[in-house]
């Protein structure tokens, strides 16, 4: 009996080892391009422009980063990216929270229609909105202005933010609010004092997801902005490719600088984002 148990235990362990090897292979394949970016950014230029690439650097240097930062308009574009992402996230999350609370807590006429509309707009390919938005902003004088891009980003992250926040709100027991209201809070006060603190982690997750979307967007930024000093960082990357070839070392260093903040924040909240993304599928 005990030997039988031992055998199954051992075979289970053995089979798990096989899966672990497969898992590590997946890890290597998925991670290799990221590794290659980091390695390239850290090695000296003569090693990058080499016909005999090595899988590891012989020496480490920060020259590539220095050259990337010295590229024209780097700091201007950092500023643009930060302004545009922050404003669009604040608007999307602020407005989204109100709408999510309404959908999650109230029964009202048109609620279901609104929920369907929120999911439906996500099905429209962004490229098909490009032309009318370009024309509309041109009429309003919003081309090459931050507010034009901010409005577009806020609106395009809004449906998803509402949807995700709704998922978090319906998981907060209604009784908590009701007891606060019995104790004399108004509905909004109960929201502020009871729901909001409990919602904070979800709010952060939704905000970071919206931030990631805004930070990584390139198409609208490329079309709606026109000055070199107003472009966002994604567009800045296009500068490394010129007529005379691509400066790969600086390009990889610049890529790291752009990816680092979003990757860092996203690693912190990924669990909640994954849950929020598919909440609609599980509930519907």
């Amino acid at each position: 009996m005990s030997t039988a148990a031992k055998v199954t235990y051992r075979s289970k362990k053995k089979s798990r080892a096989g899966w672990n090897v497969l898992g590590l292979i997946t890890f290597v394949i998925m991670g290799f391009p990221v590794y290659w970016m980091i390695i390239t950014a850290l090695r000296p230029s003569q090693e990058i422009l080499s016909y005999h690439q090595k899988l590891y650097p012989s020496s480490v240097t920060f020259d590539q980063f220095k050259r990337a930062i010295d590229m024209p308009n780097f700091w201007d574009n950092v500023k643009s990216s930060v302004i545009i992402s922050l404003f669009s996230v604040v608007i999307a999350i602020g407005i989204g929270l109100l709408a999510a609370y309404a959908i999650g807590r109230f029964r009202f006429w048109g609620r279901r229609g609104l929920m369907i509309a929120l999911l439906l707009v996500q099905m429209i390919p962004a490229t098909s909105m490009l032309v009318p938005i370009y024309i509309q902003l041109n009429d309003l004088g919003g081309l090459n202005e931050y507010w034009g891009v901010i409005a577009v980003y806020a609106a395009s992250t809004l449906p998803f933010s509402v949807w995700m926040l709704r998922g978090f709100i319906i998981n907060i027991p209604r009784e908590l609010e009701e007891s606060a209201m019995v104790d004399g809070c108004s509905q909004m006060a109960a929201f502020r004092r009871v729901v909001l603190p409990l919602l904070a982690p979800g709010l952060v997750a939704a905000a970071i997801y919206a931030l990631m979307t805004a930070w990584n967007e390139y198409l609208f930024a490329y079309v709606l902005l026109q000055d070199n000093d107003k472009y966002t960082l994604s567009i800045w990357l296009l500068k490394f490719t010129g007529q005379r070839g691509t400066d790969y070392g600086a390009l990889m260093a610049g890529s790291i600088l752009i990816a680092l903040p979003v990757v860092f924040f996203f690693l912190l909240v990924q669990r909640k984002v994954a849950a929020g993304l598919t909440a609609g599928a599980v509930k519907g």
């Binding site: 390919p125 806020a154 609106a155 990757v263």
Partner: protein, 335 residues
């Protein structure tokens, strides 16, 4: 508005001539008056809460959508934009000219093949990774999750840059590694000379970038599958594939369908990767529907033709999303 509302109604409630008898009683009992006010307030409150969202969505998403439809029946060019003249109406001319253009059908066919390949491999590999994540030890799973989150968060133009470098004809790692294989010489091989091989590279990039989202979503769906169900199936004699097909998959099916639909939508919109890989000047053979519409608008300068192409794209897409749309319509019935 809600504050004004409540203040105005409060003093009146008791003294209103038409107020039903309980109203008098209500104002007599301290706590009750608040309840009455609350219901009144909460009737308009949800609408107040959704108004800002509705305004911004109508302005930035709704209006342009209507405008796309309008544009597709006109002939708007860049000239109209500068001169602020209104474009002439042309009826279905844009549609007939797009639909009778053989180049357009080439683009459609290319897009279908591209999207089908990308979605197929993304979903299959994503599902396999998710199943694998269920079976590995915790520390391996942690490593897999962190690398996938990193890839997921990677800005699109960043990952395109990495692939551009790896497949570079001079300094690309892939060429040099392949050349090391015996009997293979890929020195200076340009992957992008042939659009089929170029688009394959772009597809690999798209698949690599999309696997994390699929794998993580499917993994979290897999954790919802009750252990008892699988055990019961095993006792009844089901094995590997059978358990997956009849027990596991039905549970994760809603998430699977939703992520497939999202993948189709996202892969239809592939554009930036091609622009960056082809140095902002993609050859005609690299055009997929998204890029084609973009080029018609901003290179050819015919906004209306671009709008017509977009409308056709949306119609094509919605054919694929019928299951998803039906799922959507059920929302709200359950709750």
């Amino acid at each position: 508005m809600s504050a004004a509302d409540t203040h105005a109604t409060e003093p009146v409630t008791g003294g209103r001539p038409l107020a039903p008898p309980p109203a008098a009683h209500r104002s007599a009992v301290p706590g009750r008056g608040r309840t009455g006010r609350r219901t009144r307030q909460s009737r308009s409150l949800p609408y107040l809460l959704i108004t800002p969202a509705l305004v911004i969505m109508a302005g930035v998403l709704g209006y342009p959508l209507v405008d796309t439809v309008v544009l597709s029946f006109q002939d708007e060019r860049r000239g109209n934009l500068w001169l602020h003249t209104s474009p002439p109406w042309v009826g279905f001319d844009q549609y007939t000219s797009v639909l009778t253009d053989s180049e357009f059908w080439h683009v459609v066919l290319r897009t279908f093949l591209f999207v089908a390949g990308c979605v197929f491999f993304t979903m299959v590999l994503g599902l396999l990774v998710a199943l694998l994540m269920q079976r590995v030890s915790d520390w391996v799973r942690l490593m897999m999750t962190s690398v996938m989150i990193t890839v997921w968060a990677m800005p699109l133009l960043v990952s395109s840059s990495i692939f551009k470098f790896m497949f570079d004809s001079d300094y690309g790692l892939v060429d040099q590694l392949l050349t090391r294989l015996p009997g293979v010489d890929y020195t200076g091989h340009n992957w992008f000379l042939n659009p089929t091989s170029g688009l394959t590279i772009i597809a690999i990039l798209v698949i690599w970038g999309a696997i994390p989202f699929i794998a993580i979503s499917l993994y979290s769906a897999l954790t919802q599958v009750p252990k008892e169900l699988e055990e019961a199936a095993r006792i009844d004699g089901a094995r590997g594939i059978g358990i997956f097909r009849f027990v596991t998959f039905p549970v994760i099916k809603p998430v699977f369908v939703m992520t497939t639909t999202l993948s189709v939508i996202w892969d239809f919109g592939v554009l930036g990767q091609i622009l960056l890989m082809r140095n902002n000047l993609p050859e005609q053979d690299y055009q997929l529907l998204g890029l084609y519409a973009y080029v018609q608008a901003f290179t050819v300068n015919s906004f209306s033709r671009s709008a017509a192409i977009s409308i056709i794209t949306v119609l094509l897409l919605s054919c694929f999303s019928i299951y998803y749309l039906r799922q959507l319509l059920k929302i709200g019935e359950v709750e």
